[in-house]
Amino acid sequence: MANKKAIRDAYGETLAKIGEENENIVVLDADVASSSKSILFGKKFPDRYFNVGIAEANMVGMAAGFAASGKIPFANTFAAFIMLRAGDPVRSLIAYTKLNVKLAGTYAGLSDSYDGASHHAITDIAFMRSLPNMAVLSVVDAVEAELATRAAAEFVGPVYLRLSRAEVPIIFDKSSYKFEMGKGVQLTEGSDVTIAATGYMVAKSLQAAEQLKTKGIMARVINIHTIKPIDRELLIRCAQETGAVVTAEEHNVLGGLGSAVSEVLAEEYPVPIEFVGIRDTFAESGDYELLLEKYGLSVDNIVNKVNKVMKRKNKQCGLLMK
């Protein structure tokens, strides 16, 4: 079994490391420092660390002021709160003026599973990617968390970094995995169907691809870690070469990765698309893996959607032949 590591641990450790390399990095937290792991930075650099208490809007407003003065602030809280409680300064101060603020939303998706729907974040991608100037990153594992955090710090402009609470398998090899903002990563060869996934659903998609292979279906799994700006070129090429797409994300199907992929392909190269995601409902408390299963974010459901999209693709091909 693959090694596991919590994404938030990798994030916190990376923050502390890059804090050493760049003294312009400042970190803010809203009383969840031991959850977000920003505390690892805070212990090392207390002068550049600001815990503002349970006041998310003020945290992000302050981050805007830091950025306007040449700092590189990382603002941390739960994904649900950074988009909702701090949504106004995120839009009105940071996105509007392209301020160089990094918004780290931890506990994204259903990963804070036991706390229930109040703490789940299933609309954050939709909100963040609809803000002009905002880049949106979503990471798969601890290796990618480190690389994405570094990339966010180096990128000049607002970035939303979507992080999971969960301890997830490490699927990328740190020595060879390349992370470039805006570039999707093809993980498996396949020409029957493309599975475009983000976050933890990438790991599930790889398992689905294994299962499909035993049935003779070769699925091309691509990791869309940058939901905005999305890799249009890769999506178009995959649609052309495989003729069908399934998207997979730990987010509402409204407005997330599936929507982003559809927007590109509808304009550029329409093919049948199926969506794996939460079907516009609030979830509930429970074990993380059981929740994912219940709300359709499972290997089985990815396989089902692949079968469905393949049928649609083949039907279309059949019609074209007539």
């Binding site: 600001f50 809007a57 302050m62 002021g65 003065s69 509007y96």
Partner: protein, 279 residues
């Protein structure tokens, strides 16, 4: 402390001229907020012409003092003062709120030289101002960050989040000025949301508080000097003002928060303001 008679007269004349310019522009474009712009004339003018270390030729130099217009709807008065100070040509003022102009309905830091922060949604300016003030401390720079907030604006919850934080982080290089004109869009602050003991509230939140007449340029100048002597805590200057100041029929009237100016009202307003200027 204190202003020379000459400086005082200069600033007072500048405010009268700015009020007149404001009425002319808002009449011409038939949009914008006269009331809250008129109440803040002396505050903005005194900061930009007397107190702040700024260089219009080099608006981004690192050690400049920062000014944030928290009550972003007073943008027309800010623009008039910025233009007068030389941040951009005065001719630009007539393009306010028009397509293609760098002068947006509410301040936009991306577009207008001299605007430090995009504001409009109330309450955010003070929060960002605190970030700027703390950045100055990290960089060991001695610039001050000034944030002009409205009294209605302090009904926003984030104001009190920031009030708490500024005290915790000992932001003594942050000076907030409350344009206490007592009127908001729907009525007086007493009618809509009584503010109670404003001074007491801010003091309890850990701020140094100074109360002045916000139309007295000398008092504004002195209050800023006093604020700078206080170490370890941020300062709030409560500036008692009159919404619509200078135009009798606009004074204290919530209806003039954001109403277009008709021709008769325009003529009357100009007559009054010219009376002040010539008298």
């Amino acid at each position: 402390m204190g202003l020379s008679a000459e400086r005082k007269k200069y600033l007072e004349d500048l405010c009268h001229q700015s009020r007149r310019k404001l009425i002319e522009i808002l009449y011409k474009i038939q949009t914008g907020h006269p009331g809250g712009s008129l109440s803040s004339a002396e505050i903005i003018a005194t900061l930009y012409f007397e107190k702040m270390n700024i260089d219009p030729a080099n608006p981004k130099h690192e050690s400049r003092d920062r000014f944030i217009l928290g009550k972003g709807h007073a943008a027309p008065m800010l623009y008039i003062i910025l233009a007068e100070r030389g941040f951009f040509p005065k001719e630009d003022l007539e393009s306010l709120r028009q397509l293609g102009s760098h002068l947006q309905g509410h301040p936009s830091a991306d577009k207008t030289p001299g605007v430090e922060l995009s504001t409009g949604p109330l309450g955010l300016g003070l929060s960002a101002g605190l970030g700027m003030a703390l950045a100055a401390k990290l960089d060991k720079k001695d610039y001050y960050t000034y944030v002009l907030i409205g009294d209605g604006e302090t009904q926003e919850g984030i104001i009190w989040e920031t009030a708490m934080s500024a005290a915790k982080f000992k932001a003594d290089n942050l000076i907030a000025i409350l344009d206490k004109n007592g009127v908001q869009l729907d009525g007086t602050t007493e009618e809509i949301m009584p503010m109670g003991d404003i001074k007491g509230k801010w003091e309890l939140f850990g701020w140094n508080v100074i109360t002045i007449n916000g139309h007295d340029v000398e008092a504004i100048s002195d209050a800023v000097d006093m604020a700078k002597t206080v170490k370890g805590k941020p300062t709030l200057i409560i500036a008692d003002t009159i919404k619509g100041k200078g135009v009798s029929f606009m004074e204290g009237k919530n209806t003039w928060h954001g109403k277009p100016i008709g021709t008769e009202d325009y003529n009357q307003a100009l007559k009054e303001l010219e009376g002040i200027i010539n008298g």
